[in-house]
């Protein structure tokens, strides 16, 4: 028996607009990029916008080539601007607020309330369009290692973005040193955050090597199985899953015009 898997089409495609927020280091970008690739593999038209104005490195634009080759439309500043830390919001972003009927939009938002602040500029153009604003939580990060810390982070993000968080994603990890215990600890914290906030724990994540752990089999919350995409230049992908052609563009290399 294996863990219950996230049903992409039911959970993700019932809403067309998804914004991923959280504190930096929670793993927002890894989650957003993996969701985009999974949706593309499932045959959906999917766009991802890199709205990270907080991190200067390790942003989803570094996986641009890989995502584009998988059929994902990637909206990032082009050329030299993509290497700046300027708060650039492209005009295309507004179009993504209203995805076509067969399309899904993902926004990879910068970390912390300061990163989520950018969303407040989209509140008016957003109007009544339904959206999901999911907060990624990692119990191994300072300031969100407790339920209270996660809820404080949510309050800060909501105040800065003028939008409401609609659910949580448990993404506890220690990059290459993640253990099953760390994942389970994250699910427990996520459930408690969900109970205290009245908002759903939409799914939890685990890398491929944990996907078939019997210890996760009884879990009610669905699992979204991920691959490591956002790797520093010296770490190789070791997972056995078939990979899309191409690879993440190394830091500092042009990602195309």
């Amino acid at each position: 028996m294996t863990a219950k898997r996230l049903q992409l089409t039911e959970t993700i495609c019932s809403q067309k607009l998804h914004m991923i927020v959280g504190n930096y280091g929670s793993g927002k970008t890894e989650v957003a990029v993996n969701l985009a690739l999974a949706l593309a593999r499932a045959g959906r038209r999917v766009s991802i916008a890199d709205l990270d104005v907080v991190n200067p490195y390790f942003r989803c634009r570094e996986a641009r080539v890989l995502m584009e080759e998988a059929g994902v439309r990637v909206v990032v500043p082009s050329g030299a601007q993509s290497f700046s830390e300027l708060p650039i919001v492209l005009p295309e972003i507004r179009a993504l607020l209203r995805p076509a009927p067969d399309e899904v939009s993902l926004f990879d938002v910068g970390g912390d309330p300061v990163g989520a602040k950018l969303l407040s500029s989209l509140v008016e153009p957003l109007g009544d369009t339904p959206y999901q604003l999911w907060q990624v939580i990692n119990s191994r990060r300072p300031f969100t290692d407790t339920v209270e810390g996660c809820l404080r982070m949510r309050d800060g993000i909501e105040e800065a973005s003028r939008l409401k968080v609609t659910g949580f994603i448990a993404n506890s990890h220690l990059v290459t040193e993640t253990t099953l215990e760390v994942i389970q600890e994250g699910i427990r914290m996520g459930r408690e955050v969900s109970r205290r906030s009245g908002l759903p724990l939409v799914f939890y994540t685990a890398m491929q090597e944990f996907a078939d752990s019997p210890q996760l089999a009884g879990e009610e919350v669905p699992l979204f199985v991920m691959r490591r995409i956002m790797l520093p230049p010296w770490i190789r992908r070791t997972d056995a899953q078939p990979q899309p052609a191409g690879r993440a563009v190394p830091l500092g290399r042009r990602t195309g015009a």
Binding site: P56, R140, P232, P233, L251, R253
Partner: protein
């Protein structure tokens, strides 16, 4: 305690607190702004002082003052900001004050860019500012090592009453790795000794000043500082040598994050039967010349890899003394060499083709002998 996931910059801030440093003066600059951001949040929780100065010039003079009154103090910046601190660092070294500073290097020269680089090696190790003085310079190659070296930096600064710089490229500031903090959580208070300005009631006055108008006194002070640097050089060199139990075809020399890239390349080539050794200084100053020479003696030739145009290369050459041929692979501007780039260069200088079969091929005749040779 269990491991947590931290960005290098946050870990630097936490390490300083764990070392008992409760005073920070600095100014934000990418890619190290998370250090002041983290400390602005954390220091008030532990009764510390955080001041965002009006510039790096001001911040560096604030640490001068804070160290002068005998408190443990930290500043952090990135390349252009460190240049602005140069004058005060010379004063601090002249006054023999213990301060710790961190440079998360970015691309230069000039305003450059925000991506990682290692172009401040010479500035940190040789030419920080005017006058005869040296910084002790420590170069971590992981977030955990950054934690350990920041904590060690305070000990060194206080043992020798000398400024210590922990130097990383922007990548180590920005990357996330699991870390744990050694216990005890908080270091001993700084010993104000016979120099700190703690109030002169019931004792003779002390002065912290670097003005020596009397040439003989200034001459003596220079000899004193030089003798201290000699002691540091004898006692504090640290380095890491890997895969040198047996002689190797080629030795990769690198420091900081570039070492991680070289390690990946070395592991992959070793799996193919090419014997690649690794040497990295942990103390860039004092540079471990003897250890570097000993590593070089085990190798057929040397490839120095840096994210600059060949700065540590000068120290490697001094260590090797012309006994081995040295090639260089460098990048700048925020371009990070990949393990493939390093492996390709190794094959090029060894004249071996990518291993489809195990037997090494003779050197391909290339017309670019002079290019990129060190």
């Amino acid at each position: 305690m269990s491991k947590i996931l931290m960005k290098g910059n946050e870990a630097v801030g936490e390490a300083a607190i764990r070392a008992g440093c409760l005073h920070f003066f600095g100014y934000p600059i990418t890619p190290q702004s998370e250090v002041p951001e983290y400390l602005a949040r954390r220091l008030p929780e532990v009764g510390g002082v955080f001041v965002q100065a009006e510039s790096e010039v001001a911040a560096s003079n604030m640490i001068y003052g804070a160290a002068g009154v005998g408190v443990r103090v930290l500043t952090t910046s990135s390349s252009p900001g460190i240049s602005l601190m140069a004058e005060a660092l010379s004063y601090i070294a002249a006054c023999e004050l213990p301060v710790v500073l961190v440079n998360m290097m970015r691309a230069g020269p000039g305003l450059g860019g925000i991506l990682p680089a290692q172009g401040d090696y010479l500035q940190a190790t040789k030419g920080t500012a005017h006058g005869d003085f040296h910084l002790i310079v420590l170069a971590p190659s992981s977030v955990q090592e950054a934690v350990n070296l920041v904590m060690r930096a305070f000990e060194l600064a206080e043992n020798y009453r000398n400024p210590v710089m922990v130097i990383g490229d922007g990548m180590i500031g920005q990357m996330m790795e699991p870390v744990e903090f050694p216990e005890p959580a908080v270091g001993k208070p700084l010993d104000p000794g016979d120099w700190a300005l703690t109030g002169c009631k019931d004792r003779p006055r002390r002065i912290v000043n670097s003005l020596y108008l009397d040439p003989e006194a200034c001459n003596r002070h220079n000899f004193k500082l030089t003798a201290k640097w000699q002691r540091i050089t004898e006692a504090e060199q640290r380095s890491e040598s890997v895969y040198l139990d047996e002689p190797c075809d080629i030795l990769l020399t690198s420091f900081g994050m570039t070492y991680r890239i070289c390690k990946t390349a070395a592991d992959e080539l070793r799996a193919e039967g090419i014997k690649v050794g690794l040497f990295r200084p942990i103390t860039l100053a004092p540079f471990p010349y003897q250890a570097c020479r000993a590593a070089a003696d085990r190798a057929g030739r040397i490839l120095d890899v840096e994210m600059n145009m060949g700065q540590m290369l000068e120290d490697v050459k001094l260590a090797v003394q012309g006994t081995k041929s040295i090639d260089f692979l460098g990048t700048a501007g925020g371009v990070v060499p990949s393990p493939e780039d390093v492996a390709k260069k190794i094959r090029e200088v060894l004249g071996s083709a990518p291993a489809k079969n195990a037997s090494p091929k003779p050197a391909p005749q290339k017309k670019r002998k002079d290019k990129e040779r060190a």
